[in-house]
């Protein structure tokens, strides 16, 4: 057991998989000699060499396209897109190529690859380097979408993503890179499509993803301490496939549902979840499901405004408290 940062967990997860399988290769901008702009891939170039850890030009289409060509002919590439906002310039591969090749070739073309990218706000980078793009990815049939919140989950879910036979978009949260967590020694392997109850509770279910998970936990502690409200917090972890059974089970016990989403409001993952709960657990609910999201705006740069935009611990506490009438 060792304490590891989220950023070091990325390098450890990649190294674990590259060590295990020589078909795993890694490409992206500044990932090799420089160790990544977030220093999340330090040491991999020295350990695995320039043929397996390949620095690329600033060519996001070439990065994602090459990853696909390698994947469909036998390798298991991990491609890095430095900031998730840049997915917009190579979205063709997500929207049209990775996601559709298996279906439209009647199962002939396989695309086992992982696209890692730094997602999310809180770093004061402004509207083009701070977005939460999970909803861009999850709306496309054929992709899998994962977003870990702890160092342990980074390793376990990254390993599961690399070993998965489908294309996986792996969203690391850039404001979590410096956070720490306990990680056991030895190989770590988790499962896609599994949510995790990270705080048990009885009065309401709070669903959260990535950076919103520690905020939801902190809010739940505050709600308990200050208002006697005992919330269950679920780390969604995997948007596709989605572990809706864990969420339905929780709502059946708590009878209230809150989502905490960093993405701008329209078509956020919570909207899909709320619709599932409304369809399948309507009579379990004692009150309306409530979505706590970033407003439908681009993210501003300065800290005062950015902090106001993203769901905060205080906003979660206030929203839950008022909704429950506590």
């Amino acid at each position: 057991m060792a304490e590891l940062t989220y950023r070091d967990a990325v390098a450890r997860g990649i190294a674990q998989e590259m060590e295990r399988d020589s078909d795993v290769v890694f490409l992206g901008e500044d990932i090799g000699k420089a160790g990544g702009v977030f220093k999340a891939t330090v040491g991999l170039y020295d350990r695995f060499g320039p043929l397996r850890v390949r620095d690329t030009p600033i060519s996001e289409q070439a990065i994602l396209g090459a990853a696909m060509g390698a994947a469909m002919t036998g390798l298991k590439p991990i491609a890095e897109i430095m900031f998730s906002d840049f997915i917009a310039v190579c979205f063709d591969y997500l929207a049209n190529q990775y996601s559709k090749s298996r279906y439209m070739t009647n199962g002939q073309v396989k695309c086992p690859l992982v696209v890692r990218t730094a997602n999310g706000g809180g770093a004061r980078f402004g509207a083009q380097h701070s977005q939460s793009v999970e909803n861009w990815c999850m709306m496309i049939p054929g992709l899998k979408v994962v977003a870990p919140s702890t160092p342990l989950d980074v390793i376990g879910l990254l390993a599961a993503s690399v070993r998965d036979p489908d294309p996986v978009i792996f969203l690391e949260h850039k404001s979590l890179y410096a956070t720490k967590g306990e990680v056991p020694d030895g190989e770590i392997l988790d499962h896609l499509g599994t949510a995790k109850i990270v705080r048990a509770g009885t009065d309401a279910t709070i669903l959260a993803l990535a950076l919103m998970v520690p905020r939801a936990i902190a809010a739940a502690e505050k709600l308990k301490a200050e208002y006697g409200v005992n919330c269950e917090v679920i780390d969604v972890r995997s948007l596709v496939p989605m572990d809706t059974q864990t969420m339905l089970g929780s709502v059946a016990r708590t009878h209230r549902l809150f989502t905490v989403e960093e993405n701008p409001r329209l078509c956020g993952w919570g909207a899909e979840l709320v619709s599932i709960i409304a369809d399948e657990a309507f009579y379990d609910l004692d009150g309306p499901p409530v979505r706590i999201t970033t407003p439908h705006i681009p993210l501003p740069s300065t800290d005062i405004l950015e902090d106001r935009a993203m769901p905060s611990v205080d906003r979660i506490v206030e929203t839950v408290r008022k909704s429950l009438g506590s």
Binding site: T73, L75, T105, G142, I276
Partner: protein, 341 residues
């Protein structure tokens, strides 16, 4: 511009055997006849949706495919029927796909623009212009990394040279010295617009080669022997670690861009010129006759091909549509489409 222009000679030579000459002839006739049949089936409303024919461009597909080794990989665009057939994919599987039948290559799930046959090395027909250029680079990267000897061959039109992925992919292939051959079929039109009207250089592919440290190569795309020799040279270079090649083939499509296009934008006489003077099958037929191959041999080949087209058409007409249950298969690797538990 300090680029070297290489224009191959048009001659009959010993490097292509008689057997290969006849195979090349037969394939060109096969592509012509099957594309013509695809068009006829449109008119009968048995092929729906859209389709992009390669009538007039048969020598490019044939020459590059004939020079490939088994295991070499073809990546093509939505104008991919000819490239798919040229790798030996049975005609009824291609026509069946165009007709949306269960015997189609993709059981009707892909259609005309996505013909794929991995077992024949046809790694896909890509309908987003330029997308497959980086993809072919990735396949070539795998060959380089694993020490495999196959070459990835990527076909595209002149219009592709103006999209970003082309430039990203060319640079990528060049810096990594990948075993990939890029083939531009310059048929003079970017969809409905003359390519020269929208391109900064005269030769849309060859004129860009120097930007990526590549030799500028333009060849007669209507002469299958020239195409074959050029292909062989490029494949040998790729296989021996010499890196990528970019080859611009001057060719012409007889039909419009797609089914919806009557191609009225072409100047009068242009189509007649290409059909009359530059038709790849006519050029090849005359050469074979001059080289002493008998008229009856060629007629027999033509008859056999036409017979094949009739057989393939009959098979497809008799084939059932795909069963409804494949609607939701193969979205994910588990064979299904489930995104939640």
């Amino acid at each position: 511009m300090a680029t070297k222009q290489s224009r191959a000679e048009v001659t009959l030579a010993d490097d292509i055997s008689e057997e290969l000459h006849l195979r090349i002839y037969r394939m060109q006739v096969e592509l012509r006849e099957s594309e013509q049949r695809a068009y006829d089936l449109f008119l009968q409303n048995l092929v729906k949706g859209t389709s992009h024919l390669s009538l007039g461009q048969e020598a490019v597909a044939t020459g590059f495919a004939a020079a490939m080794e088994p295991g070499d990989l073809t990546f093509c665009t939505y104008r991919g029927h000819a490239h798919t057939l040229a790798r030996g994919v049975p005609m009824e599987r291609v026509l069946g796909e165009l007709m949306g039948r269960d015997n189609g290559l993709l059981r009707g799930k892909g259609g005309s623009m996505h013909l794929t046959s991995v077992e024949h090395g046809v790694m896909g027909s890509y309908a987003i212009v330029g997308a497959h250029i980086p993809i072919a680079c990735g396949a070539a990267w795998r060959a380089q990394y694993k020490g495999d000897k196959d070459v990835s061959v990527c076909f595209f039109g002149d219009g592709t040279t103006n999209i970003g992925a082309f430039h990203e992919g060319l640079n990528f292939a060049a810096i990594w010295k990948l075993p990939v051959v890029f083939v531009c079929e310059n048929n003079l039109y970017m969809e409905y617009t003359p390519i020269g009207d929208v391109t900064a250089v005269k030769d849309p592919a060859a004129g860009r080669a120097s930007a990526y440290g590549l030799e500028s190569i333009i060849i007669d795309g209507q002469d299958a022997d020239v195409v074959y020799r050029t292909a062989k040279t490029a494949y040998d270079k790729a296989r021996s670690g010499g890196g990528p090649s970019l080859i611009e083939c001057l060719t012409y499509r007889y039909s419009g861009h797609s089914r919806a296009d009557p191609a009225k934008y072409r100047p009068e006489g242009e189509l007649d010129f290409w059909r009359g003077k530059r038709d790849p099958i006519r050029i090849y037929r005359e050469r074979l006759l001059q080289a002493g191959i008998s008229e009856s041999t060629l007629l027999e080949i033509e008859d056999v091909v036409r017979q094949r087209v009739e057989e393939a058409t009959a098979i497809c007409k008799a084939a059932p549509p795909p069963p409804a249950e494949i609607l939701t298969t193969d979205v994910y690797a588990d064979g299904g489409w489930a995104w939640r538990n």
